[in-house]
Symmetry: C2
DNA sequence: GGACAGTGTGAGAGCGCTCTCTTGACACGC
DNA sequence: GCGTGTCAAGAGAGCGCTCTCACACTGTCC
């Protein structure tokens, strides 16, 4: 491949066989050394290791895979619409978490971003034994991939609670708790009528954040009113439009919990355009703690999620599922953190 | 793996052999059908295809890989610091472009996000024949990975011009042209003293955008002054600090070209805090056209880059390099687009 | 001292595929 | 009628590895 002439060797290079010859042992023994079997005498081990270094030997993954029936790689599946939505650094942070957890085990990360039309191809790939398991990132409710994989016995872990609430392992951020705390913070700060811009109802994150909002309202002795709830689609414009609707249905609102920073930025624009000051007239809390939260004026109080950790945990759950098939599904739910900024700091600490 | 009892089959399932038996032909013939060889009679082809469907056969990549010496997968290498910097949706957009181009050729995307300490491991992996080639995303100048790969003959394409300007293929966005147009736009709009917040000098994008700025200043008959140039590090705070420096060294500036939106948001905050109105007192143009650009007040005029296209082009260059080794390196430079928003709209069209 | 267990090492099969080589069938031209 | 060419299809080797089994050797125990 690399060199133009036909010489063997070079690329990829040495085989087990070659190492065995140099070390003066059999292929099997070299294999034992490489795979850290305890059944090798110390002197032989040293000799083999020297030969490995000398030849720059790297095991051929394909050959190993062929006999072990494992690919030593796992798939991360992020569908198109999801990828588009998460314009905050969700994507890189998650992948970084996954990547670091996999690297520690010497596993490979195969990334799949199927467009909706390619579902069949994706399913074929995932069920074809090319990966040992898959991480499915916050799919919409109608996605056919999860069922197909479950059907064929491919180990799967969801990142973000699956909408169906099926019997599967997942790791999630405690969206409900995050939303509850954000809303409670607004109430503690003196707000009387707290509205919310919720996310889409076909995503668990959207639903949970709305429930968390309601929890907090109820806990404060209030009751959840439809006039105080508007839905957005996690986009800037969606947030702006929802805010306009809220200003009509509940003109006396004095605080808003918005289920994403991007929507909150849209809502903020509308509030200021309508002459409401923030946080004095209307306090605002966003969600995600994305860079946008820090760049709006005033900057947004927001809910920060441990996304890298979510990636790492997801890997651990998946490896567990792979190693011990047939175990009941496990769930991991991680806590969030409220990051205070000017958009909600109404009361001075008196 | 999937089932607890010891039955064969199921998982991954059918082999070439099995398909051959069902179709009543030899293994070789099935292989020919799978690999679309023309040397198969139509009726046999039909029979084999039926058998493939019936058994749900998927070729075993490991076995194929073992004999063809190709892995049918390519690596995308994004180093840690880079990933952190690109908080705008650079990452997902790039990966989407790469992914779609690879999917069309039925190749796999292996994602590597090595932390600096893992360089040796990464190099070993990439040179170990596990991938057919690698896409290296905008590394810093001192990264040892490129040289190691070139050394071992692993096909490589850079995404973003490599700082060393080495003899390698790359695809880049025309940063210089983008910066030139952005600056020219400010001048056309009536600005007299245009300053710039530049990026880090160890990244090609930082250098090129500064050069583009200087091009435009020179083209307008002005001359580039040190007092009008401040450096940032592509972060919000970096942009804010650079802006403060500029206000000291050139208090009479009336426009600023900032080399990233995030820095521009920081600069904007400082300008407003110092009582300058935007765009009336100081016009502002950012770079990246990230979501942040649309959410600041006023929203930022910015330079939009064709990132998905960059990913796709990079894949094409890489496949080319893999298929025809020894070719001279090729470069692809893509044009940018200036997206006009309120931060620079000073003059009304009179 | 013979039976036995324990341990390190080698021989060899075989994972599922590709690819070269060979065979067989048929058509054509002299 | 026989050589020759063409084309579809099969036989079989072998890619680099793991893993079972067999084997030699050492020690321990009755």
């Amino acid at each position: 491949m690399a060199t133009t002439d036909g010489h063997e060797k070079a690329q990829g290079g040495a085989t087990l066989e070659a190492v065995a010859r140099v070390a003066g042992v059999s292929r099997a023994t070299v294999s034992r050394v490489v795979n850290e079997s305890p059944r090798v005498s110390p002197d032989v081990r040293v000799a083999v290791e020297a030969a490995i270094r000398q030849l720059g030997y790297t095991p051929n993954r394909a050959a190993r895979s062929l006999v072990t029936r494992r690919s030593d790689s796992i798939a991360v599946v992020i569908t198109e619409p999801t990828a588009r939505l998460f314009s905050d650094p969700f994507f890189p942070r998650l992948v970084r978490g996954v990547s670091s957890a996999l690297a520690a085990r010497d596993l490979q990360l195969v990334l799949l971003m199927p467009e909706p039309v390619e579902e069949a191809r994706t399913i074929r790939y995932l069920t074809g034994g090319h990966v040992d398991g898959a991480l499915l990132v916050s799919l919409h409710g109608n996605d056919p991939i999860p069922a197909a994989l479950a059907d064929r016995g491919v180990p799967v872990v969801f990142v973000g609670r699956p909408p169906q609430g099926a019997e599967v392992s997942y790791v999630d951020v405690d969206n409900r708790q995050g939303a509850r705390r954000a809303t409670a913070h607004l109430l503690d700060d003196g707000a009387r009528r707290v509205a919310t811009v919720a996310g889409p109802t076909d995503m668990a994150a959207g639903l949970d954040r709305l429930e968390g909002y309601r929890d907090a309202i109820r806990a404060s002795g209030g009751k959840s009113e439809d006039a105080l709830v508007a839905r957005g689609d996690f986009t800037y414009e969606g947030g702006a439009k929802a805010m306009e609707r809220l200003l009509k249905t509940a003109p006396d609102l004095d605080a808003v919990f918005v289920a994403s920073d991007l929507m909150a930025a849209g809502a903020l624009g509308v509030l200021l355009a309508r002459g409401r000051t923030v946080p004095e007239d209307v306090a605002l809390v966003g969600y995600d703690d994305s860079p946008i939260a820090a760049t709006t004026r005033p900057p947004l109080t927001s809910v920060r999620q441990p996304i890298e950790e979510m990636g790492r945990e997801a890997v651990h759950l998946l490896l567990d599922a792979i190693e011990r098939a047939g175990r009941p599904p496990r769930r991991v739910v991680l806590a969030t953190e409220l990051v205070l900024r000017a958009s909600s700091a109404r009361r001075d600490p008196s």
